[in-house]
């Protein structure tokens, strides 16, 4: 495992490189090279560790010094794997991303430093075994992420969005203090490996769960604590928003799973709580996403949705652990774990893609895009793969994890008869509903951004090799997990069996016949190709030509007549107007011959704009009206001495 620490050092050494090279271009090249090298070595180490399953559970040696600060157990290594796996392409992208700014003459050094720190601290988080070390890495992670976010700090929304994030993480860490204090006090040790508490701890058990779930849930972005995501993600530099959405919110999931490790078996109602909260997050996350026009904001809401899906898996797992039923746990947690990986992959892909678009068009508003497919065909293909995957549609990776989660529903229904089938069915329907909405949403953004004619003329749309490379890696992963899930399932299963769920070996994810799925998918794609060839031959025979689209005989069709994103999503948004705070503004035409008209539709966030902000405003206005102890006249100062002395003396007098 020393190799891993060497890789971390290698990544940190990039900071030195940045300091060393005065010229931005050289510095970024060197730094990215070092980062990539470090990440790859790290990834290889981690992967071999996972596959050979040499998990070190306690006192391991770092550079020959025996320390219990770190631990490499299955769960930690799995997340470490994900982090490094996602970080590699992100770093590759980051190189070409920063190139744009360097060409503009903006200094990117500080940003690079924060990126390096962010990467290393995040990797440290998942391997740290000592609670204090965990907190330190956790806070360093959050802070460096914040510092990275404020790259374009002149903009107002950047400041607010980043500040939301900072405050959120500060609140989280306060909760975590208390959480770990209790655990420390109970087990009188700071080591994760010693933390364990069973439900007969009574009230404390519930308090701990409340603390853990709220704290980590905030980080993960469950509703109603999601308010920071749609603010922080759009304004962050793409590299950071990709990492944020791909990895950092997953740290919340990591925390929740750890909490489960510390405190099990869980009471059943907790499982239901988590399940329902996650269901709400999933449904409303995607529904909010449907109402957005800003691509990054939209993707942020999709993170809420996917976190919800992961949460559903965890909730089922909790129920399973309440009934000590291994299959339910395996399927629930397994689905959650796999979906964590999947979401990390395709969400990063989509964010990087959105970054590429932003770089080229200079806008994030999808209403101003369109017809990009005619400029970057392969780019669109890659983005499309990500979209299909995130909608959970076969044959890509999103489907696999959702499939497991559906199975967990079925299994729960089968395992714990009576009214469980009903509840589980409702959950399944909920998930199906989410899937439908996701399809609607992603057909929307893909068609509005890429298809049809360009609404705003595109000056240049060129994608560098590095961008293609990073997108390609992500897409490849999506396809691989989709078409050949077996090895990934094996890894997840290993993670589950290695101490995460006791006696999980009795039932494993491999009971599902994954090869059959692969066969189906592959043969289907073969079929597609065959028909394609057949179609080609037919077209050769009977000819094919290009003509203008059918417009009821009206020839003057122009791009502005195309269906817009808001009109596409309108019918669905109308249905849950109030929850989405969805309102439209039309100025009515009074003249016979209509003049220039205007139509707008917006959706505000209920939790953010309607609850949180007003609450804070009222509170601050209330407090700032308090004139308590803020006098300017020295006589009051003196008087206070007298008053306080009398008060204290009275207390002393009344003291028993």
């Amino acid at each position: 495992m020393d190799l891993l620490f060497y890789s971390l050092l290698l990544q940190l050494s990039s900071i030195a490189a940045i300091a060393f090279f005065t010229e931005n271009k050289k510095a970024s090249a060197a730094a990215h090279l070092l980062l990539a090298a470090g990440l790859i070595t790290g990834f290889i180490t981690t992967l071999t560790a996972v596959l050979t399953s040499n998990f070190i559970l306690k006192d391991m040696n770092v550079f020959g010094i025996s320390t219990s600060l770190f631990r490499f157990d299955a769960l930690g290594l799995y997340f470490l794997c994900i982090i490094q796996l996602v970080a590699i392409p992100t770093t590759i992208y980051s190189y070409s991303y920063l190139k744009h700014y360097i060409e503009k003459g903006k200094s990117v050094k500080s940003n690079l430093v924060f990126y390096a720190v962010l990467l290393t601290s995040t990797q440290m988080v998942v391997v740290s075994n000592h609670a204090i070390l965990f907190l330190i890495c956790w806070e360093v992670m959050s802070t460096s992420a914040y510092l990275g976010m404020i790259f374009e700090k002149e903009k107002k929304d950047v400041q607010t969005g980043a500040f939301y994030y900072l405050v959120m993480s500060h609140a989280v860490v306060f909760l975590l203090y208390v959480f770990f204090f209790f655990l420390h006090n109970q087990t009188n040790s700071w080591l994760f490996s010693n933390f364990h508490l069973s439900p007969d701890a009574g009230k404390l058990f519930i308090i701990l769960y409340a603390l853990g779930l709220i704290a980590f849930g905030m980080k993960a972005g469950f509703m109603p604590f999601h308010f920071w995501l749609p603010r922080a993600h759009p304004i962050a530099p793409t590299v950071f928003s990709a990492f944020l959405s791909g990895i950092i919110i997953k740290m919340g999931i990591y925390g929740i799973l750890r909490t489960f490790q510390f405190l099990n078996p869980t009471p059943e109602w907790l499982g239901w709580l988590v399940l329902s909260v996650s269901m709400i997050s999933a449904i409303y996350g995607v529904w909010y996403a449907l109402a957005q026009h800003d691509i990054k904001r939209l993707l942020a809401y999709h993170s809420v949705e996917n976190i919800g899906i992961i949460g559903i898996g965890i909730g089922v797992g909790f129920i399973g652990s309440a009934y000590h039923s291994v299959p339910i746990q395996v399927l629930g947690f397994g689905g959650a774990l796999l979906h964590t990986l999947n979401h990390a992959v395709f969400k990063s892909l989509l964010f990087v893609g959105s970054g590429v678009i932003y770089q080229n068009l200079g806008t994030r508003n999808i209403e101003l895009m369109g017809g990009l497919v005619h400029y970057g065909k392969y780019f669109v293909v890659l983005f499309l793969i990500g979209s299909i995957a995130i909608s959970g549609i076969p044959p890509f990776n999103g489907f696999i994890s959702e499939f497991i989660i559906y199975n967990s529903f079925f299994t729960t229904a089968k395992e714990l008869k009576n009214y469980y089938p009903l509840l589980m069915l409702i959950s399944a329907v909920g998930l199906a509903f989410v899937g439908g909405l996701a399809v609607a949403c992603f057909t929307k953004i893909n068609s509005i951004m890429f298809l049809g004619k360009e609404r705003k003329e595109v000056k240049h749309f060129n994608i560098s090799f590095y961008e293609y490379l990073s997108l390609g890696i992500f897409a490849l992963l999506c396809v691989a997990i989709g078409f050949y899930p077996q090895p990934f399932i094996v890894i997840v299963n290993k993670v589950l069996t290695e101490g995460f769920i006791p006696a999980a070996s009795s039932f494993s994810l491999l009971n599902i016949n994954w090869y059959l799925l692969s066969i189906i998918f592959i043969s289907a794609s073969v079929g597609i190709i065959l028909i394609f060839l057949w179609k080609r031959s037919i077209q050769k025979k009977y000819g094919r030509r290009i003509s203008s689209a059918w417009g009821c005989g009206y020839e003057g069709l122009n791009p502005r007549m195309q269906y817009t994103a808001s009109s596409y999503a309108d019918e669905l948004n109308e249905i849950s107007k109030t929850a989405l705070v969805y309102h439209k503004k039309v100025d009515k035409q009074k003249e016979i011959f209509p003049l220039k008209g205007k139509f707008e539709s917006h959706s505000e966030d209920l939790a953010d704009n309607k609850i949180l902000l007003p609450a804070f405003r009222n509170f601050s206005s209330f407090v700032s009206r308090i004139r308590f102890l803020s006098y300017t006249d020295i006589r009051y100062y003196i008087a206070f001495i007298l008053i306080i002395i009398t008060i204290y003396s009275l207390i002393a007098f009344l003291w028993k």
């Binding site: 500080s110 204090i132 907190l135 330190i136 806070e139 360093v140 802070t143 510092l147 404020i150 700090k153 002149e154 400041q159 500040f163 900072l166 405050v167 500060h170 609140a171 306060f174 203090y177 208390v178 204090f181 209790f182 420390h184 006090n185 601050s620 407090v623 700032s624 308090i626 308590f628 102890l629 803020s630 006098y631 020295i634 009051y636 100062y637 003196i638 206070f640 001495i641 008053i643 306080i644 002395i645 204290y648 003396s649 207390i651 002393a652 003291w655």
Partner: protein, 483 residues
């Protein structure tokens, strides 16, 4: 005798010399060497290489050793940057006052060292009052109306307060009546030895008077105002000096009397009083942060807040006490960093109004980033030291007999963080106004010292030297706290 001369006499002599010779540069040279010696010596004493035995009213114990080290450390850095600070242009009236600057500083060092090392309450009182007297003219450095008002208020309030502290000391003698201590000298070590015999009523009274009296100097609400005015209107090195060392000198007095109360029946009462004071201070800072428009004042209130946290820690006792001791160290370092950087910002923008300041990071990158970092440090974000001390204090609170304190404190601190952040970020970011001349900021000694201090802040926190640890453990033992 050596230690006595180095720690107490030499600063006095240096002050005299500074009175005689005129050149600022030579004054600076002398003061710097004195401070360096002082730092070195107090460090040697702290790590125990040298066992000091001081004459008549002076002595050392773990507590005074720690505070002495903090004092001379703060003093050293303040002197180090003072020269470059003096070079900055000010009004002609202020120019005239500069010749007393180092004199007063040296006198301050003398008085403060005497106060910290004194074993006798009378001595402590005299020395503490002397520190006030030496600092008051320094507050008036800028020779403008605000400075004048601040000086007046500080001088007057603190003098009255410390007079009350004197009453408290007299009560202490009263409490000794009818015991073997009767007619004895006010050596507090004696008092600590047979504290249980003392008359509880007078003891309580004396604690109240001393605590309230010295609160004017510590800046515990509701006696914080004079302190805040002074800190926010004095030049940055002096502000750092006050927040870093002067306040804790006053805190020392409170801790002495608290130590006497420790074994007695009035212990719980004293703890309650301290907790009330601490919570009040944090609350005052919390309220202020909602309507801040002057960043020096904001920093002053931040030190009110942190002294409040320290008092809370002492009051809660247990682990929180040790945490508070650490917090004293980190806070002194951190306040220096904040005030130094803020001083740079002030001398660049010539205003203390938050609204007058935009995009510091772009205009002066060094100062800007360092200021941002020191804000993170003060709001307890790791790996900076305050994080560790607050962690200890919080845990102490949670497992004390009053866990609700933790809830209240966390709530207040969270909002303090939010509002402080809002204000400071508004200063740091934002698009720069056109008229802001874009000159490259050069790397000055202030930046150097700030960086060193930040590194120190991280290093002490993460490494947590064994010597420091056992020193604090022995302090806690003196206060009857087993860890």
């Amino acid at each position: 005798m050596l230690e006595f001369s180095v720690l107490i006499l030499i600063p006095l002599i240096a002050a005299a010399v500074c009175y005689l010779i005129k050149g600022t540069r030579s004054q600076y040279a002398i003061s710097l060497t004195v401070s360096a010696f002082h730092l070195l010596f107090s460090f040697i004493i702290f790590i125990g290489l040298y066992k000091p035995n001081l004459p008549f009213f002076f002595s050392t114990d773990p507590l005074s050793k720690l505070f002495l080290l903090i004092l001379s450390n703060v003093y050293f850095w303040v002197v180090l940057i003072s020269f470059s600070y003096l070079k900055r242009p000010v009004t002609s009236k202020a120019e005239a006052g500069k010749k007393y600057y180092f004199l007063l500083l040296n006198f301050y060092l003398f008085a403060n060292t005497a106060a910290i090392l004194s074993n006798h309450f009378g001595m402590y009182w005299v020395a503490a009052e002397a520190t006030t007297l030496s600092v008051a003219p320094l507050i008036y450095y800028y020779r403008n109306e605000e400075a004048l008002e601040a000086m007046w208020k500080y001088l007057f309030l603190v003098s009255v307060g410390i007079a009350f502290a004197f009453i408290g000391i007299l009560f202490l003698t009263l409490s000794a009546n009818g015991t073997i201590m009767e007619g004895q000298q006010l050596f507090f070590s004696e008092f600590v030895k047979n504290a249980t015999k003392l008359n509880p009523i007078w003891l309580k009274a004396s604690f109240i008077f001393i605590f309230v009296g010295l609160s004017t100097k510590i800046g515990i609400a509701p006696m914080h105002s004079g302190d805040v005015d002074a800190t926010s209107n004095s030049p940055s090195p002096i502000a750092a000096l006050m927040s870093g060392s002067l306040r804790i000198t006053a805190l020392l007095g409170v801790m002495r009397i608290f130590q006497i109360l420790t074994p007695t029946t009035s212990y719980e009462f004293a703890k309650l009083i301290l907790i009330i004071g601490g919570l009040l201070s944090v609350a005052v800072a919390f309220i202020f942060m909602f309507k801040v428009n002057n960043y020096k004042r904001l920093l002053a209130y931040s030190s009110v807040e942190h002294l409040g946290i320290i008092t809370l820690g002492i009051g809660v006792g247990g682990l929180a006490f040790a945490g508070a001791m650490y917090h004293v160290i980190y806070n002194s370092l951190n306040k220096m960093v904040l005030f130094f950087t803020a001083g740079n910002i002030h001398s660049r923008f010539k205003t203390r109004e938050v609204n007058g300041i935009k995009s510091v990071i772009n205009l002066m990158p060094w100062t800007g980033w360092l200021f941002l970092l020191s804000f993170f440090a003060i709001s307890a974000i790791p790996p900076f030291g305050i994080f560790f001390s607050e962690l200890m204090i919080f845990e102490g609170m949670l497992f004390s007999n009053k866990p609700w304190i933790l809830a209240v404190t966390m709530f207040l601190l969270l909002f303090i963080f939010i509002n402080m952040g809002k204000t400071l970020f508004q200063m740091l970011y934002g698009e720069k106004s056109e008229k802001a001349i874009q000159e490259k900021e050069s790397f000055e000694i202030i930046h150097f010292s700030v960086i060193v201090l930040l590194i120190l802040l991280i290093a002490i926190g993460t490494i947590s030297p064994g010597i420091l640890q056992e020193n604090i453990l022995s302090i806690s033992k003196d206060f009857g706290i087993r860890l």
